[in-house]
């Protein structure tokens, strides 16, 4: 299996899915000739032509809106939003239409589409280029939310997202795009949506993370007997894997880079407090970004959860 970084893995997934299924089309700003500002769609225009790889005007609501239309007609559009910070103009289309068309029509119409977008902080880019507001999309019945944590997960999950019968918001941790290479299988290879992955078994504590925080959590907890869960799908999330682990360890730390209040960590903590209270030996701790907008380059490292804060939370928990 060739070693690939996440950009290559995502590009491969798109190419293979487009080859496999002529319903798959790609649209967005600069996805064609330029191959995407991160090159995720590189080479697709040359290979599949203008009808399947569409450079659109600068209009996020219409990118998602036309993708919805295409999906209603039976295509499987993959829309790129150039950065997650520019997905908000399309919020209404996602919430009011993509998420609801199946329900609104009692199953007669549906929106099998994928909205891909670079996600998260750590690349020292301008404002709104480092967002991680996944929780918004997890509060939308009818939308699935997927966050890969590395090249091979990225490939398998993107293939699954494209094949999924329902709309998927697919968040690509920008910081990981070229950070590591991994063995990534060619050909038909999928990772199921809705299943978390136990990255490392352990018995003293359960650490839950996703996206670019996973790598950071794994490194931070090298010297601890921690069970580390890579959530992968945030909506619908795999509570079983989490609860099983919490039953075993009795201690939980949740790590995410989004601001704490109403971040996805809140839902995880609430689920645990609801379903596993008797197993808990201490508080459910969240190590998150603070309740502020993501700062620019000079201060962003004070925003992002770092190894010290992750370890401090674990050490605090181990005292219970």
């Amino acid at each position: 299996m060739p070693a690939r970084n996440m950009v290559q893995a995502l590009n491969l997934a798109l190419r293979e899915e487009m080859e496999r299924d002529d319903r798959v089309v790609v649209l967005g700003e600069d996805v064609g000739k330029d191959g995407g500002v991160f090159r995720i769609t590189d080479g697709l225009l040359e290979r599949f032509g203008e009808e399947r790889v569409m450079d659109t005007p600068l209009a996020e609501s219409a990118i998602v809106g036309t993708a919805i239309g295409m999906s209603l007609y039976g295509l499987r559009p993959v829309a790129e939003i150039q950065f997650m910070g520019f997905i908000y103009p399309a919020f209404d289309q996602i919430f009011s239409h993509a998420a609801r068309m199946r329900n609104r029509s009692r199953g007669r119409f549906s929106c099998p589409l994928v909205i891909r977008t670079p996600y998260g902080a750590g690349i020292k880019a301008p404002e709104l280029h480092e967002e991680s507001t996944e929780a918004f999309f997890c509060h939308m019945p009818g939308i699935k939310v997927v966050v890969p944590s590395g090249p091979s997960m990225a490939k398998g999950l993107l293939a699954s997202a494209i094949r999924d019968p329902d709309p998927v918001v697919f968040l690509e941790p920008t910081r990981l795009y070229r950070l590591v290479k991994e063995e990534v299988p060619d050909g038909d290879y999928t990772i199921p949506i809705g299943q978390a992955r136990v990255v490392r078994e352990g018995s003293a504590i359960t650490a839950i993370a996703w996206g670019s925080m996973l790598e950071r959590t794994v490194r931070a907890l090298e010297d601890f007997d921690a069970e580390i869960i890579d959530l992968l799908t945030l909506s619908p999330f795999d509570s079983e894997t989490i609860l099983r682990s919490v039953d075993k360890t009795g201690r939980v730390v949740i790590v995410h880079e989004a601001p704490r209040t109403c971040g996805f960590g809140a839902e995880l903590a609430a689920t645990i407090a609801e379903e596993a209270i008797l197993s808990l030996r201490g508080p459910v701790l969240r190590v998150t970004g603070p309740d502020v907008p993501v700062p620019l380059a000079k201060l962003v490292d004070h925003y992002l959860p770092g190894a010290a804060r992750i370890r401090a939370a674990v050490e605090e928990l181990l005292r219970y």
């Binding site: 089309v25 009808e51 399947r52 569409m54 659109t56 005007p57 209009a59 609501s61 219409a62 998602v64 809106g65 036309t66 993708a67 919805i68 239309g69 295409m70 999906s71 209603l72 007609y73 039976g74 295509l75 559009p77 103009p89 209404d92 289309q93 009011s96 239409h97 068309m101 199946r102 329900n103 609104r104 029509s105 009692r106 199953g107 007669r108 119409f109 549906s110 019945p141 009818g142 699935k144 019968p165 329902d166 809705g194 619908p236 509570s239 079983e240």
Partner: protein
């Protein structure tokens, strides 16, 4: 290097059938007498539905309902031009379109009574659920049309919306996308002069809505929206253009909402009775009646018979809608995704057990 004129544009308007029932023969589209009679019957049926819906609402048998009174020609005339297989995206005030397309009035009543099953468009028809959120369905029409063209299907797509919708960002983004990709789509605006209490002149400073198409590089045309022939002719031409690869068209149907915005509204708060009276004189049904009368296709007896037939259809639809068993409460879960999520499965049980 003086200040030079680099582009010029004009906006045209089409009128064929006037308020007295006279037609401009030169402009009359190719319609058989059967077609014209059928159009008239659809106008009557739509109005009969509308009337009944208002009574049902007063009796608490359906919820809030938006009347189409005065807009029947814009709806019937445009929908009459469509072909089997075309895709239609209504806003929330298109009873006449639904009825013309053969969408079951019973389903419509069911929907207005608060039952989502009324929006499950029967197979064979491609009518999207109503878009309550004003104007936000416009980009969908563009995407559907792009997909149809990609599939080499000779399908056209029509999106309906009101004058208020032209102020929305999605109108702009969708129109601009349509201009760039030129898919087979027709945009039909029923400019009924009001968006709830906001008059057309305060909705936009543009002299016409049709001219908004200039911003997107395709044709915009205004038609007399109370003139069923003008609406039909303009739509037909736009659909032909769409099907033959000529790209999008924007049609502004200049019409009037004779009733309140919805049954929850009181239009007397914001507009004058005299304005409404003026517009009543331009009634779309009455002018087609006059024309048909001149042609000898209309008589009082025919009208009585027609009214009775329409009432019969609507009565039956109401009966069917009200005879439908209540939806199963589990229905709130079953079409959110293709399958149930784990949390939904758990919630479904709670719902089932506690029941409140």
């Amino acid at each position: 290097m003086p200040r030079t004129v680099i582009e010029t544009f004009s906006v045209t308007r089409l009128d064929i059938l006037d308020a007295e029932g006279n037609v401009d023969e030169a402009l009359l589209p190719p319609l058989s007498s059967d077609d014209m009679v059928r159009m008239y019957e659809l106008l009557v049926l739509s109005r009969t539905f509308d009337d009944r819906a208002l009574s049902l609402q007063r009796e608490g048998r359906i919820g809030t309902y938006p009347s189409i009174l005065g807009q029947e020609a814009a709806q019937v005339g445009s929908a009459f031009a469509l072909e089997q297989g075309d895709w239609v995206l209504p806003s929330f005030r298109e009873t006449g379109v639904h009825i013309t397309l053969g969408y079951s009035p019973a389903l419509l009543f069911q929907y207005w009574a608060g039952d989502e099953r009324g929006l499950a468009c029967p197979e064979g028809l491609n009518v999207l659920p109503v878009s309550v959120s004003v104007g936000t369905h416009i980009p969908h029409a563009v995407g559907i049309a792009m997909a149809a063209r990609y599939r080499r299907d000779r399908v056209a797509v029509v999106a309906y919306f009101g004058d208020g919708a032209t102020s929305k960002g999605d109108f702009h983004e969708g129109f601009n996308m349509a201009g760039v990709f030129r898919p087979p789509v027709v945009f039909i605006c029923q400019n009924n002069q009001w968006a709830i209490s906001v008059p057309r002149t305060r909705q936009t400073a543009a002299a016409t809505l049709a001219q908004k198409a200039i911003a997107y590089g395709f044709e915009g045309i205004q038609v007399d929206g109370n003139d069923v022939f003008a609406v039909y002719a303009a739509t037909r031409r736009a659909l032909e253009r769409a099907r033959s690869g000529g790209g999008p068209t924007f049609i502004e149907c200049f019409t009037y909402r004779l009733s309140h915005h919805t049954t929850a509204d009181d239009a007397d708060r914001y507009r004058s009775a005299s304005e409404v009276e003026e517009w009543k004189k331009r009634d779309p049904q009455e002018r087609l009646r006059r024309y048909l009368e001149k042609l000898g296709y209309w008589s009082e007896g025919y009208q009585r018979e027609l009214d009775e037939r329409a009432r019969g259809i609507i009565d039956a639809a109401v009966r069917a809608a009200e005879a439908a068993p209540l939806p199963d409460r589990r229905d709130i879960f079953t079409t959110v995704f293709e399958g149930l999520t784990p949390s939904q499965a758990r919630e479904l049980e709670v719902l089932h057990d506690a029941g409140a």
